[in-house]
Subunit: 427 residues, 4 copies
């Protein structure tokens, strides 16, 4: 399934006059300098797609009828991300999961990715499942395990993942651990933490000097009493003990009810310890819904902190942090869902970039709370979709990716190519 320039051009032409009108209207009210800067930042901003998010997802109650045309191989996964990137010019990397995506022929895979303009983002280890050929089980944890042999197996796996990543050109290892406990008394929390730290130190020692180690945290699930890296405080503690290359990764769905995530983001940036993001949305837990589909204002507030904090630290928005979607698609076409997530993220980012920072700072200095709210909400309520679309157009992509995806009957095409009953590896 390829989309060519002519198809994109034709789509954009159809929408051109309407888009032009709306984009021009924005220019009436907002500084052209700010608009231009924002456009460039939107063009530069790229969100990696995880290889496990290209198929229909499920829950513990099972997986329903698949969408059809799901990628059967790593090559086809790369092709899917390539298609997304072709449509929105915003996903120039794929994040692989080992062992679901071990490449058989590294060079071929790299060439294929290059053909789509894709790089390899952080690689992800998996010690939350037992692999068919595994000697030891992770049923009672991996890096935390009371048995050193199990820890060693998990450490070796992580080091192997680093090697796979090096061959592909990745620059970071993401470690998400399901380690924890289901019942009071099951774990000695302190030993579990110390074992985890010790294991991570060994993995860290194997980290190439230009790599980062992303330490993810999660409040609960699949363990239902405790999680050994359960909140940002625990992750930061580990990252500080590990060293400069270790950072804390934030997944939006990994918090207790009512958590103020934007404040956490701000503090991690302050400490120089924010690794990046796994984007999704949720109402109850790690629901892995489309980014911006449940709490778009929260997403905006998070980007407000990201922009403010990255600028304060002189960071490059596009390059200094890791941006990835981590969602599950149980009731939507996975590719449409990903297009919607990227769109939701881009809108939030654009809104955050357009905030009148001087006015906001002034209101904060004056404790003028009503005005601070006016400043934020004025930006949030403004429709910046034309800005996002313009950035996309300038990058050679579609003004409206999801519409073009439907117009071109991409899913039908994929089904023809791959069949109706293929299933992608993943959750």
């Amino acid at each position: 399934m390829n989309v060519d320039n002519i198809q994109i051009q034709s789509h954009n032409d159809k929408l051109s006059s309407s888009h032009h009108r709306k984009f021009s209207a924005l220019k009436e009210d907002w500084s052209s300098t700010l608009i231009d800067q924002t456009l460039q930042k939107l063009i530069d901003f790229q969100i990696a797609i995880p290889s496990w998010a290209l198929g229909t997802g499920g829950t513990r109650f099972g997986r329903f009828a698949i969408t059809g045309g799901e990628p059967r191989t790593l090559a086809e996964k790369i092709a899917d991300v390539g298609l997304l990137h072709r449509l929105n010019a915003a996903s120039d990397a794929i994040s692989l999961h080992i062992p679901w995506d071990v490449p058989e022929d590294i060079n071929e895979i790299k060439k294929s990715a290059e053909g789509y303009g894709l790089a390899f983002d952080a690689v992800n280890s998996n010690t939350f499942q037992d692999q068919p050929d595994a000697l030891l089980s992770y049923k009672f944890g991996s890096l935390q395990h009371v048995d050193k042999a199990v820890r060693n197996q998990a450490i070796a796996h992580n080091i192997e993942v680093i090697k796979q990543g090096q061959a592909l050109g990745s620059k970071a290892l993401t470690v998400w651990l399901a380690d924890g406990s289901c019942f009071p008394g099951q774990l000695n929390f302190r030993n579990a933490f110390q074992n985890t730290l010790d294991s991570l130190q060994q993995i860290y020692a194997a980290l190439p000097s230009d790599w980062k180690l992303y330490v993810e945290y999660k409040a609960f699930e699949p363990n239902f009493y405790s999680t050994t890296i359960g909140d940002w405080g625990q992750s930061l503690l580990l990252a500080n003990k590990l060293g400069d290359q270790a950072k804390t990764l934030v997944d939006l769905g990994h918090h207790l009810p009512n958590a103020n995530i934007e404040q956490i983001v701000s503090l991690l940036l302050m400490e120089g310890k924010l690794a990046g993001f796994h984007f999704n949305d949720s109402k109850y837990g790690d629901d892995d819904l489309t980014a911006g589909s449940i709490k778009p204002y929260q997403l905006f507030l998070i980007f407000n902190e990201l922009v403010e904090g990255m600028d304060a630290a002189g960071m490059n928005h596009a390059k200094n942090l890791g941006w990835m979607i981590d969602a599950s698609h149980n009731v939507k076409d996975p590719l449409e869902d990903l297009l919607q997530s990227v769109e939701g993220i881009m809108i939030a980012y654009a809104q955050a970039l357009m905030i009148d920072r001087a006015a906001l700072t002034q209101a904060q200095q004056n404790n003028d709370v009503a005005l601070a709210q006016e400043v934020l909400q004025h930006t949030f309520r403004t429709d910046f979709r034309p800005l996002v679309a313009e950035a996309r157009q300038r990058a050679g992509a579609a003004l409206s990716p999801i519409h073009l995806y439907r117009e071109l009957k991409c899913r039908e095409q994929l089904i023809m190519e791959r069949g109706k009953t293929t299933t992608a590896t993943g959750l």
Copy 2:
């Protein structure tokens, strides 16, 4: 503090060309019939202001420095609401709380309200505090109390409130009970419920035939183990046992974490049992923050259900339900906060009115989840503030009420009139 037509006209004139441009832009993309219908509905839609929300609020840790110029009397409270209504033409009623607002001279108060174009919305009883002259205490509940004498005192108070309301022209009694328990074992839940039902039945018997009884529910606070009318199910059970004039009142802050309020709203409308709303916003509990300040998308989704459900039932949006703000203003000027709440509500209502219902229904029929989301978010992401402003202008009010409030230095004026240290009754 009066605002006259010339001041409003002058303010609107200044914003006129910018407003005209934005309003016209909307007309390019949206059906003019829909826009006209929406404008009329926005003009008709009125949100009552509670008399207790005109002063600086506090928490159990105390109340901080007040804003100054707070209303000292019921007459001044009416004047404050009159000022709001003059600015936004969206708050044509005041909701009184008895005994904080017992009018000394009914006729004078009614005349004063009429002068501002204000009616008297639902009256509110108070059995969550002991009054200085009370014989019996509500420490262990009021309508639920194990002691019939306490219940009778509370019933008599509610009937007295109805009488006060009748004199003023109100048409509904809102009963919010703090009744519940702080510790396991304190209450027999069933007896507490039956006592409450019995008490409400006696109040209901005293209700004029053209009145409604609004039964409010709340998950927790000020009782911290159980609340006797704790959720919509309990309120609906009571309302059904009471009769047609009894309905369930929804306060947005009165739910457990993560509750799907919009679904509750839909079902109450389905049952013909929705009384109306107490609008506010919250992150943790009954935080009583400005409507739309924390979860504006949720507010939109609630209005989506309201519009859909009221239309399905052939209801008049403006007249068949009770709309009121119930917020507390701890860190903002109360009048600015109320202007922001009304604006947040109006925007959500406008967005809900502008939803392409045919497209949404079609997507639902096709289980096209991605498209359903596109339809909703397209409307939410569109900036309909020009529509809200246009409606306001047509109703003779200000294009931007909060800006005019500041331009005219209303608070400074009120401080001059009333002094810096006045305190309004309320929470």
Copy 3:
């Protein structure tokens, strides 16, 4: 794997003097009448075991290494429940799930169950998964579905389950629906509710006159935005519209954070609409942990309401409601976990039976909150395990079932009989 009387007797003999000492000590402080009544009620109280809880459970991230010796057939599942019942004399019924447990030869299965002294509890339909041979998918719901053909398929399935249950001697159908939505806009809540009601009415019409229909509710999961029967209010609304044979089933893990479940139980009993219970425990969501493992005091408070409410209504504790465990065993031997759940439930029930009701009522009447707490906690803090053990002994079972299970090396025996890699159907 059979346990015979001699083995039980020998186990009990070993513990006899210690048990006798502790049981006698209780008699020093508690009324012998109350003890005798409690013993009889404990003997009569039986908790059904679901057929899907006999194997190792999993989460959406997969299932870890199994325990070994898991039942491969319905006959072996019945044998497992028979073993539990032999050990604790408290689980005289099995609750089947269709289609996981469709009996091939009804008579043989019934005879086998009778051999273990087991009856067939409520049968459970499954429309939360697609079966291999299904024509239509439940991806977008079953009884709520927009497509009447899907609803009809689900209705027919439920009616088929009733027929299977009739053949086995069951007297109730439990309907748990995963129906709901993952995204705002996906569902019309009202239509979903009405479709569900209409479907349930058709199932209800097929219900034998001596059957009950248990309508279960759940706040979230596997749908992550809305659940169509999401709370007790929605279930009660449906049960009331359906008729006398329909009741509301409470699963302890199916609530929003911080819900006061004991109050819900009390009110459902008051309305004559409590169907019964699915017991488990949880910290975050539907964690399906061992009953009493996380919040044993809550379990006690629930039984306090059950005992009080059933007695007030003149109900037979053992016969008028449905009692079942619904847990998942991810890190424990399933049979040990079930023994622990039953023990936790029995202790809570015993404690609730031993409450000094007259003293509690008196304290409530006097609003003596401190004393009410003393009464409840005095009972909760007393060690009534000797009472539970005595009841078990009198019923011919083991004083300490889990210890006997380990002494007899039951799991090792099952592994020898069935192999190490068998897997039971279920979640």
Copy 4:
């Protein structure tokens, strides 16, 4: 109101034979060494009483009818704590709140306290309220405030509190800040954190070398969008930046829903950064209910971690951490409530001390989750109240303090002494 030895002796004599029987029964089943060690630790363990918890509490909706006989002066507060300590020999210190409890005559106050055998625990500053004579308001924060002058006022206040504490013999300053924000945009989180750190550093610099600085955290309330020291991670970050004398204080009610507090406790002990505890219980938020009244198993699990972690670090249970109750008494006699809290805490501590640590560790090493649960629950289910009573008796106090309090009609006596309408300062 004094209680003398004869009254205590007479009370104990009445209960003596029953107590002796129960205490002896415990000795049948538990190691006498362990019992003796536990008795000594229970005797040594002392829980400070906050001066603000001696009067009837309230909520933001007001305070109901008081109990009568509330302490009117600091001297009377000390007398109340003296009475508690006389009854239970478990509260040998009072924690003062400045400025509610500024002693006029230090020597007299110290002598009075000594007379009751009381020391002065941590002193508490208050920047969550404006004092009548304050120049600047804390409406928008204190140590976080954007205005250096406000911060300086708050710093000076804290230093003044240290001085008051030094005169009294206190050894720690507890800083709880209400600082935070009510609305998105109100605060720059990073600046708020840095200002807070800078302010704390100045306070820390004024700390005597044998003092500790307790940094308390709280998830929400009275600020409803963000709290600047909002969780243990933020508190630990500050404590680490401040130095060795700074530690993190845990208040049980200051967490988000479902938080695993026992894990936090374990990790803070691991880091050598646990300051101590504010005990209370809660269902929804900072409900400030009696310790052990809602989640007694959680309290036990917390003490399990405390005992395990303090022992692993070679700490003295009674002396190395700060133990205090922080509760509010809205519906109970404050003194009875405090007696119940201390009892709840002592029971949990006794249970934790009696855990078979070797067996638990063994089960953990074997990943024998069912057995680990058995070990914990065996201890929790055992009735160790006779142990707690015995420790009390050996320390010269009452076997059943709350019963003696009622027998001696202490409250009636206090009302006679102080009158029915006195009100204690506090919340």
